[in-house]
């Protein structure tokens, strides 16, 4: 089996795995939650974890828990399409055209990741800014959780981090890029 084929099959396996795994995660800690940091996992099926508790807390500061997330459906379609492209990239052989196909694959993948990041970041901005004007605690300022990293919201420190699925996608993109590189003569 050629190096390209191995890399692209592995990349396809990772993207397929990302369909099953949570993509992103948020952990929320506060002094009165000792040893019980709250966790949310975003998977393509929706948001799981300590949803009820987070919803309960959010209503104090008027944050609306995002329940309608059309981008998750689009993410699913995108990942399925990428998986198909990566499999094709594994199948097309070693010709120059095949290499260009893989370059296109890798480029598309990166564009997809960057686009997704932008969409998620926009959603995170919305969560922290489009708030209920009648919320009990108006003193907590608007906030924007970063895609990766911490943000302070009231008494909570919220960390955003990629979960297994997100890491799998990044890994798959790296493999797709590696498989598309011109080989040293």
């Amino acid at each position: 089996m050629t190096r390209e084929r191995v890399l692209y099959l592995a990349a396809a396996a990772l993207t397929a795995a990302a369909l099953m795994l949570p993509l992103w995660s948020f952990s929320m800690s506060a002094p009165q939650y000792p040893d019980e940091t709250l966790h949310l996992q975003v998977a393509r099926g929706g948001i799981g974890g300590d949803v009820q508790e987070v919803e309960t807390l959010q209503h104090y500061i008027g944050v609306r828990f995002p329940t309608n997330l059309p981008e998750l459906a689009w993410a699913t379609r995108g990942i399925v399409a990428l998986t198909a492209l990566l499999l094709a990239g594994a199948a097309v052989g070693r010709s120059a055209a095949a290499r260009w196909f893989r370059v296109a694959c890798a480029t598309l993948f990166i564009v997809f990741l960057a686009g997704s990041a932008a969409v998620v970041q926009a959603r995170l901005y919305e969560v922290g800014h489009v708030r209920d004007p009648h919320a009990p605690m108006r003193s907590v300022r608007d906030f924007t959780p970063p895609l990766v990293g911490p943000v302070k919201v009231g008494n909570f420190t919220v960390w955003s981090l990629p979960h297994f699925g997100g890491l799998a996608l990044v890994g798959a993109a790296a493999l797709a890029v590696a498989g598309a590189r011109r080989r040293a003569a």
């Binding site: 508790e53 919803e55 309960t56 209503h59 828990f65 708030r131 004007p133 009648h134």
Partner: protein
């Protein structure tokens, strides 16, 4: 200087005195710091043991941490406790059970842990109500009483014990002797019974009649015998006639023999319980003579000896737990009441009159050696029970002992004539006992038992699993079920009741089914309703159903009694009681939707929040 030699002398004396004083202080301080370190549990750190202290006439169980002595919880059992929403309202089934089985108070004496292989298994804590012949079972996963039973044919349920090593049965001593047929016209001498209960069904399986007053109980470690101290073999009915004989007894009941006799139908059934008469069933009861009016009886951890405390005699009687023969009767001090054990062959006996704990070596005492007394320590004052951690199991832990003193006198700031009880924690890890700390309690712990924190903290739950009848969020409703009946299904979560208002009519019976749908630990809410004798405490996941009368027409705000959140004070709602003949349709004055679609009462909106 030569002219004033007395000045020099005086100066030297002062310096010497000063030095001695400083050194003395230093020594004292260091002993105090050592003791303080042994009991200091820093904020955020956890105790090593759970301690369960009977609440005496408080009818409850106090849960403390050892070694800190911090009160962690009171488990209400035989007495209503509004703070825990326990048995307060007249329609609360727990209140009705208390009334049906005796009274709205109890006198708890002896907390006993269920055992597996001779050590606590963390499943149950049993406790007696001396006053009303009841026994309660506390589930240690939820720290709540799940069964309370009345024991027939018995008055004064005093000593209790679980049958070691696997909690085969629960033993309950009847202290207050009764006519054998319960009839006041019966001229025959009064007698008592030892009751044996199934620890799972809490059903009284059988009773054994004993002609005397049954006091404290323990069992052999192999499940063969129960031991009860018996006084008043004279069967007297006043104090003078109860102390005539030189010796009373330890009653040893052969449990397998008694079970066999019951199975063979030898019991006389009274109030549904077979009672065995020892005269008709030889071998079931053995009376072992001990000095008159004994008190405590405790079996050594290795199961070899039974120690009966002399009370009026300065001795303990050591009985072979297998042959039931007395092997020694050493003197220990004045007023010996109870004995507990460490893991190194020592016994500790409380001396009520001497106000001391005496430590003595069991083997040496049995062999008649003269140096069996190891140490004595003063306690304050008039100690009753004492319990070393694990001293009531087959494997004592050997580091702490709690002295449960009857009087505190000068030990605390005076608080009027009714002084608190005084508990003292003693370090028994070394050869000499060391007093560590004291703490007061409300009236009146009699006895205590301990569980390693490592065992119980993994068993205890912090939220309730939703019950079958739990109200789910989104399924709240108010339904008129009859001309005078309304059912309200309610949920609560920070910081709102759903529904936040409901209407009933004067004369209605309101059935409220309310669920705390919180899933996070310690998020307890209350449902207090003014002028309706109603306070429900709802730990996370808990559901409570209660029916109450709507009461007089008016607006009644139900509110949260357990401080919960930033909007705790706003967490309330209204029960609107219309006059009986009213035809007015009430419309609400304002309700705003919050983000979760719950309506919350509030002032008219001021508009945008920016």
């Amino acid at each position: 200087m030569n002219r004033h030699p007395w000045l020099l002398v005086a100066a030297s004396v002062l310096v010497t005195l000063g030095l001695v004083h400083t050194m003395g202080c230093g020594a004292t301080r260091s002993a105090r710091s050592l003791a303080a370190e042994k009991v200091y549990v820093a904020p955020g750190e956890l105790d090593k043991y759970y301690g369960f202290l009977s609440g005496g006439q408080s009818g409850s169980v106090f849960v403390i941490g050892v070694p800190s002595g911090r009160l962690i919880r009171e488990i209400p059992i035989f007495e209503p406790r509004a703070a825990y929403g326990y048995a307060v309202h007249e329609n609360d089934p727990r209140r009705q059970l208390l009334l049906a089985t005796g009274a709205l108070w109890g006198d708890t004496h002896h907390p006993m842990l269920s055992e597996t292989k001779g050590i606590p298994d963390g499943k149950y804590l049993f406790i007696n109500d001396l006053a009303n012949a009841r026994v309660a079972r506390v589930r240690l996963d939820y720290f709540e009483a799940d069964r309370i039973v009345k024991i027939p044919n018995l008055q004064g349920a005093h000593g209790i014990a679980v049958v070691s090593p696997d909690t085969h049965l629960l033993v309950v001593n009847g202290e207050f002797e009764q006519p054998t047929d319960g009839l006041v016209t019966n001229p025959a001498p009064y007698t008592s019974v030892v009751a044996f209960l199934d620890p799972e069904s809490m059903e009284v399986k059988f009773q054994v009649r004993v002609d005397g007053n049954l006091d404290i109980a323990d069992t052999s470690k192999d499940g063969r015998y129960s031991f009860s101290t018996v006084y008043n073999l004279e069967q007297g009915r006043d104090m003078g006639s109860m102390i005539q004989y030189d010796r009373d007894a330890v009653a040893a009941i052969d449990i397998p023999a008694a079970e066999k006799a019951v199975a063979a139908g030898k019991g006389h059934v009274r109030n549904g319980v077979p009672i065995l008469d020892p005269a008709e069933n030889p071998g079931v009861l053995t009376l072992i003579p001990v000095p008159k009016n004994p008190h405590g009886v405790n079996v050594t951890p290795d199961g070899r000896y039974v120690i009966a405390a002399g009370k009026l005699s300065p001795t303990v009687t050591i009985i072979d737990a297998h042959t039931l023969k007395i092997v020694a009767e050493p003197e220990v001090g004045l007023g010996p009441l109870h004995t507990t054990f460490d893991d190194r062959g020592n016994a500790f006996t409380s001396l009520f009159l001497d106000s001391q704990v005496v430590k003595w070596n069991i083997d040496k005492a049995v062999k008649g050696a003269s140096d069996y007394i190891v140490d004595r320590i003063n306690v304050h004052y008039n100690i009753g029970h004492l319990q070393a951690v694990g001293g009531d199991t087959m494997h004592p832990y050997g580091d702490y002992l709690l002295a449960l003193n009857k009087l505190s006198k000068d030990q605390y700031l005076p608080v009027g004539p009714d002084m608190p009880e005084n508990q003292e924690l003693i370090d028994i890890s070394g050869e000499k006992m060391k007093m560590l700390a004291s703490f007061p309690t409300p009236p009146e712990p009699h006895d205590a038992t301990f569980v390693p924190a490592a065992l119980l903290k993994t068993i205890t739950k912090q939220t309730y699993a939703p019950a079958d009848d739990a109200v789910k969020a989104g399924q709240e409703k108010v339904v008129r079920t009859g001309p005078h009946a309304v059912t309200v299904d309610m949920t609560l979560i920070r910081s709102a009741y759903t529904p936040d208002s409901f209407q009933v009519k004067e004369g209605d019976q309101v059935t409220l089914r309310v669920t705390n749908v919180e899933t996070i630990r310690d998020m307890i809410h209350g449902f207090a309703l003014p002028d309706h004798n109603l306070n429900i405490a709802l730990p996370p996941g808990y559901t409570k159903t209660i029916t109450f009368d709507a009461g007089k027409p008016g607006v009644y705000w139900y509110y949260c009694t357990n401080f919960c959140s930033a909007l705790h004070l706003e967490m309330r709602g209204r029960m609107l009681v219309q006059p009986k003949d009213s035809t007015v349709v009430l419309t609400d004055w304002h309700a705003a939707e919050n983000v979760k679609g719950q309506t919350v009462p509030g002032v008219p909106s001021t508009g945008a929040n920016k």
